[in-house]
Assembly symmetry: none
Homo-oligomer: 231 residues x 2
């Protein structure tokens, strides 16, 4: 998990420096710019995790920056508003800012809000990354395979073999190919080890291991995953 990064956009160098120190204390990677155009440029280049944006900027206003960034992405934005003006706040939120803090603010509060926003927006735990085929679901992030919703108790090697075959249904893999995938490039063992794993795997995924319907043997070649066409 990488370090959090924040892009500060404030034309007051003192405030920028102050905030920078606070964020760095919290282990953020801090980028800091003093005007809107540079902000956009740096944003596009670095894609920080969040922006802290002063509403009052010379030239292009903070609202413009906010609007533009919102067009390009969902990167969270915290607005700094000069006064506790309801108007500014509403406009900011309307443009897609995620929160705002009024000046004079405490740096602690700004950091706290940023962390809260990041937590909120990150709640989606790594886009659910699943693979489905027939009754099986592979959960890559969780290293599990489930059949009809029940998680199977696979060993690491069994999981890897299943993943390899299931994600390439119908494609035959030789034992050598499988060993390479599963144990890494340099293999020096008995190719038939795969047979043992397939045997154990079949026990766990096939209703009747004597008549395998999921992982099929291709005589003289290797194994393949049955396409989900029939039974």
């Amino acid at each position: 998990m990488p370090q959090n990064s924040v892009l500060l956009v404030d034309d007051d160098p003192k405030i920028a420096k102050l905030l920078r120190r606070y964020f760095e204390k919290e282990d953020f990677l801090v980028l800091s710019v003093h005007d809107g155009p540079t902000a956009l440029q740096l944003y596009r280049d670095k894609k920080p995790d969040i922006l802290v944006l002063d509403l009052m900027l010379p030239g292009v206003s903070g609202l413009d920056v906010c609007r533009q960034i919102r067009k390009e992405s969902d990167t969270p934005i915290l607005m700094l508003t000069a006064r506790d003006e309801e108007t500014d706040r509403l406009i900011g939120l309307e443009l897609g800012a995620d929160d705002y803090v009024s000046k004079p603010f405490s740096p602690r509060e700004v950091v706290a809000r940023v962390k809260a926003i990041l937590r909120r927006t990150r709640k989606t735990p790594e886009k659910a990354d699943f693979f489905r085929t027939g009754k099986f679901i592979i959960d890559f992030a969780g290293y599990t395979v489930s059949a009809d919703g029940i998680v199977l108790d696979l060993t690491p090697t069994e999981y890897k073999i299943f993943e390899l075959l299931a994600t390439h249904p119908g494609q035959v893999f030789t034992r050598f190919q499988m060993v390479e995938q599963v144990q890494g490039v340099a293999f020096e063992g008995y190719e038939r080890t795969i047979d043992a794993h397939v045997k154990n795997l079949r026990r766990k995924i096939d209703d009747n291991p004597k008549d395998p319907r999921i992982i099929l043997t291709v005589y003289g070649v290797g194994y393949k995953f049955a396409g989900d066409a029939h039974a």
Copy 2:
């Protein structure tokens, strides 16, 4: 609405008395001391809602008091600075003060600022930012985890590990990833230190540590928080 309490720290009895009267008019419970050490002592004893702190104090300076209190808690602090010196202001904010007022000030302004800070910090999302999963509640702001409403006594590292895993239920983390999260990017130690922390953590959160149900081991990969990643 319970009564607000404020701790005044100023070595000038006249100013202290003046402020006291204003705060009492606004229905504050006022504590007043004239030096740093006494301030810390009374603070720890009474836990006021907010501190009004003179920068200029005999002996231990206001900055020291501010720094120390910030170590101990998030209690808001309003600094009184002798002049409108940008430096003092920035130093104060840097140390974690929430706002400042320059002398000569109007007592009404001080009270107004205090009320503003209290308003702000009361509605701060930080205070209402929790994560729930099963019987556990993570209080991000307080760095605590409770189970069935009882706060667990976790070490900082244990808390971080728990937060990482619990907020990503079902997702496996390798020891390396966990170490990176917990100790920062530059890691040069023993990966299996994580095992020790997990062991200690399990003692505290699992009813039967011999049969872990909360933090699960994924053999050959790492650890994950039990959670319904599938359906």
